[in-house]
Symmetry: C2
Subunit: 237 residues, 2 copies
């Protein structure tokens, strides 16, 4: 048998990096592991793939472990992680998914998981919260993908409720990018960019003068944003 005829089977898992903007912070959904290995450690929700499509596996695991229904959320494939040593149980390849959610009700833990909760991404990125396996790296990759998608796509609306004001949308950018944005120029830019639909309604929930409510234009969600909204770059001279 030639070497390339040897078929090794491995286990395939999905892990979900579900991000949200909550209480003025960029947060990620974590659970505490109920099963060995790494029992008790904070980790991403996820699990083994059954006889189903990969995105279906991600949605199923999210519901099983956190009771969050991702069917109406943005969910995209992030990357696969397959270093042979990444899981002590053997060769496990995980396909990571990235989800973006508006501020949802506090999650409730389910099977194989306890203490489902939102955790600020900052405490994962700076190592304050250590995650099981290579989940810290996966979160970092997901956060960077989200930050860069806000530049080139209309996906920031995925972090907002179904109806939102321009300043709520701006807060999403400011919190995800950790950078202040001029409210007046931002207003002009997004209202002329043709991915928001005015509902005609107004709200005063943000205080001050009533603000117009918008929703994401149905056919423009997850479209490329042109021109892009470039985040401020640090100049390296």
């Amino acid at each position: 048998m030639k070497p390339n005829m040897i078929r090794k089977t491995c286990t395939v898992a999905v892990d979900i990096v579900l991000l949200t903007v909550r209480e003025g912070a960029f947060q990620v959904l974590l659970i505490d592991r109920l099963l060995t290995p790494q029992r008790g450690w904070p980790a991403l929700p996820g699990g083994f793939v059954l006889d189903e499509d990969l995105p279906a596996a991600a949605q199923r695991e999210l519901i099983e472990e956190t009771h969050i229904d991702a069917s109406r959320l943005h969910l995209e494939q992030l990357q696969s992680y397959g270093t042979p040593s990444r899981d002590p149980r053997g060769r496990v390849i995980t396909v990571a998914y990235l989800g973006l959610a508006p501020d949802l009700p506090v999650p409730e833990a389910g099977t194989d998981a306890q203490n489902a909760r939102w955790e600020p991404v900052a405490s994962v990125l700076d190592g304050t919260t250590k995650l099981a396996f290579d989940h810290g790296t996966i979160v970092a990759d997901g956060v960077e993908r989200a930050r860069s998608k806000l530049e080139y796509t209309t996906l920031a609306t995925a972090f907002c409720q179904s109806e939102f004001t321009i300043s709520e949308l701006r807060h999403v950018y400011e919190i995800v990018w950790q950078a202040p944005i001029d409210a007046r120029n931002f207003h002009r830019k997004v209202t002329s960019a043709d991915f928001l639909t005015a509902t005609g309604r107004r709200t005063t929930r943000d205080g001050g003068r009533p603000a117009a409510l918008y929703r994401a234009t149905e056919e423009k969600v997850n479209e490329l944003l042109y021109p892009p909204m470039l985040r401020p770059r640090v100049l390296v001279p």
Copy 2:
């Protein structure tokens, strides 16, 4: 046993979308399958993952099937494909890799493959060349990734020889994007963008007045390009 305790094993493969700019066309490396299923069909080089890292598997398969050494080429993970029905042999999940190469010598087929060759991506995208499994989709995803990476990163240099002229670099953009670019504005833009190092040498291989030779600045390869080089957008009013 709870449903989420059932661990299905599947087979994990890698497939490589190796792209190049050759003879004035954007081309992809294909092989003809020597093994069933889909024996004789054109397909991407690739194969099953052994006890090795995923990028190592991609490099090994490329060498085994086409004798192309990717160790000095740009190789990045593209996406994983895992629809249960995508392979008649059973559950096979493939991790696709995207490689960018300069115009290389014509490849030579190896084990499990015959007739390794470059094929214009256009004939794959328009269905003229039908590929085995879902490889047509994988090529389309790789092409779109490459097109968009040319906008935001310095990766166009990965399609050039180690030393190249500005107009050779411009031809890469024109062929990958299938759009004409103003030579004079392009020249100014890339020479002021600080990812090219002048070698001091000149060449007349493109005809006309001798052109300065550049190389990709070592520490800027695969960096973000700022400001980005946006490809012309079709306006949909």
